[in-house]
């Protein structure tokens, strides 16, 4: 939500404070790029979309009324810019289409690990704490996230890597409450499975 920190940042931007702008791009630019990439076919175009977004932010900052958080407002500008650009490039990738790629229901845990009555037949085993904290384990997570379909990857990156709230992610990606949760659920589930598999391998 729009708070005192936001209000201060907005005032500084309006006053032409370059340091305020630098702070903002350091915080938001990587996520803006990642999201833009979902609407346009190349990384170069995504960078253009992000540049265009920042210009629109600067040109619109005087009209920003603080009815949403600054971040939400900036992401809405990005989404609109990226969509317009995506259509121009004849490759619009709306999230409804991305959702379709996920197909039907994917169980969080293989069916074979439950009994006929739905109780654990092969329950999860404790993870070795020392290996869990090893650097290599983080690579396993990174690789698992890279393999996710783009919509799941965006949601888990924003929620769990960058620490956004569910509402912020819904707004930025224009997702329903249910879709946000389903995408996050599938993404987390696959990361947990990747960890389970890795940690069950003999060293």
């Amino acid at each position: 939500m729009y708070d005192a920190g936001d209000a201060q940042l907005v005032e500084r931007l309006r006053a032409g404070d370059e340091e305020a702008f630098r702070e903002l791009i350091r915080v938001l630019n990587p996520s803006l790029l990642r999201l833009a990439r979902m609407f346009v076919p190349t990384a170069a175009l995504a960078e253009e979309v992000v540049q265009e977004t920042w210009l629109a932010v600067l040109n619109g900052i005087d009209r920003f009324e603080g009815r949403s958080s600054l971040k939400t407002w900036i992401f809405r500008i990005l989404t609109n810019t990226a969509k317009t650009r995506g259509e121009r490039e004849r490759r619009s990738v709306p999230f409804s289409a991305l959702d379709a790629e996920d197909g039907g229901f994917e169980p969080a845990v293989e069916r074979s690990r439950f009994t006929g009555t739905g109780h654990w037949a092969v329950p999860p085993r404790a993870w070795p704490e020392d290996r869990l904290l090893a650097k290599e384990t983080r690579l396993v997570i990174e690789r698992a996230i890279e393999r996710l379909p783009p919509s799941q990857r965006s949601v888990i990156t924003l929620r769990d890597v960058e620490g956004w709230t569910a509402a912020e992610v819904r707004n930025a990606l224009e997702l329903s409450e249910t879709n946000q949760r389903v995408l996050l659920h599938r993404a987390r589930t696959k990361v947990r499975r990747a960890l389970e598999q890795y940690l069950s391998e003999e060293q």
């Binding site: 791009i25 109780h119 404790a126 869990l132 983080r138 997570i141 890597v161 949760r181």
Partner: protein
């Protein structure tokens, strides 16, 4: 969400973990979820592993802005300011 919560079994519980951790279950659903957990070691372990997964995912680094990108944006800022 309502998948046969009256008889919440392990296979159903694992599908509700995200809603549970986000506080999106109704109070009735939450009670059943907690009741199941208190009697089931497998599901307790599963939920714990999901928490650890989320926690570890949170330690991955977020990308930095490249120097060139930052410089280009700051130039755009100065142009905007000069207008």
């Amino acid at each position: 969400m309502s998948i046969g919560l009256a008889h919440l079994n392990c296979r159903e519980l694992v599908e509700l973990v995200t809603a549970y951790l986000d506080g999106d279950l109704s109070s009735g659903e939450r009670k059943r979820f907690d009741a199941h957990l208190s009697a089931c070691d497998g599901c307790t372990m599963y939920v714990e592993q999901m928490r650890r997964t989320i926690e570890l995912t949170g330690t991955l680094g977020v990308d930095d802005v490249s120097r060139e990108a930052e410089e280009a944006l700051l130039r755009a800022f100065r142009d905007w300011k000069a207008q």
